[in-house]
Subunit: 214 residues, 2 copies
């Protein structure tokens, strides 16, 4: 069985999105800066249907993660891009558009029951009975591969708190957002312990990989 | 002229001290975990008057920094160990005791005027007209060497905001404190940009060194 891997880009002051996220700007003010290191990569552009892009260390790391993952778990906001009409619109595909980049089963944790949504090579399944169920369904779908908990902060925090995460990958970006959505908020009274297993650094980002000690 | 270097240990969730700091526990609940990587080192124990200690990568880094620094700037709480009677007691040496580990001039930013205090090889000078003055006095005292802004968060944040910091060194410790004193709180609307210049990792801590882009 594969691992459960939580992976997210983090600012130096601990935010995974800036303040005031909207449908048009789901990462909030300044939040795009957290992903600029990825936007330019071949391995990021390809699944988004874009040609070209940089290769090198960051690119290899993203490609390696994509190969390792067999299913994705995400929160409702990461699917819908914020509070808004889309989440109740059965025709809407969230902010991922008609060709979502995942190309593997995605399990969305939400309170809104909804039929599975197929867009391009990605099927979104909506799980209404909590993160534990989403993880379980994703594990079954991923088989031998890893389950990626891709965000938002809330979904990752819940999984960390419940002890489901085997590995945490932080992409630490040297910017300050000043406000926004924090990772690790409310990870409770008995927080997990982490053991660094790998550091890779490139000019734009430091990739920190931790094993979660259970 | 040397650089102005801000250096501090940071938890994965962005805290430099835990909640409820007191005179007896100036790093707050759980805050000692941020410094455990240092406590065991030869280069940390020696200036604290303790024998023995580990050598290796972490130790070399601490020794390198100690050699580079010619003066220290710190906030009032880092001097006094929290709000309390000591800060108004002209005889008290703060929580650093009779043999403070610095062995170089220390400039304490405070609102309480006070004569310089000599303890062992360390002179504490109390600067009442702001961080800018403390930096200036420390620069003069350090001559060709670096000025260390050693904390707390408040002193570092003020120096970052004012653009006085040339280099930021974070010792990122993979623990979650859940609450406490955050670094970067209130670093304002035009935050500095950082450029990673070195990463060193050891089992207990990741040392991140950033150049502040002016």
């Amino acid at each position: 069985m594969g691992k459960v891997v939580a992976e997210i880009s983090l600012s130096l002051d601990g935010y995974v999105a800036g303040p005031n996220p909207t449908l048009e700007k789901p990462l909030g003010e300044g939040g795009d800066q957290l992903h600029e290191w990825a936007f330019r990569l071949k391995s990021w552009r390809e699944p988004h249907g874009l040609s070209g892009g940089e290769t090198g260390l960051d690119d290899e790391l993203v490609a390696e993660n994509l190969r390792a993952n067999g299913a994705v778990v995400m929160g409702r906001r990461m699917f819908s891009g914020g509070e808004g009409p889309w989440e109740d619109d059965a025709n809407a595909g969230g902010w991922w558009g008609d060709e979502p980049p995942f190309h593997m089963p995605v399990f969305v944790v939400t309170h809104h029951p909804r039929e599975p949504l197929v867009r391009g090579g990605t099927t979104f399944t909506f799980v209404t009975d909590g993160v534990a169920s989403a993880i379980e369904e994703a594990r079954a779908a991923a088989a031998e591969k890893d389950v990626l908990v891709g965000g938002g902060a809330n979904a990752i925090d819940q999984c960390l708190e419940a002890g489901w995460v085997d590995e945490l990958q932080l992409h630490l970006v040297p910017v300050l957002l000043g406000d926004g959505v924090r990772l690790f908020d409310g990870v409770g009274l008995e927080p997990p312990r982490f053991e660094l297993t790998r550091v890779l650094d490139s000019p734009l980002v430091t990739h920190l990989r931790y094993r979660v000690v259970k």
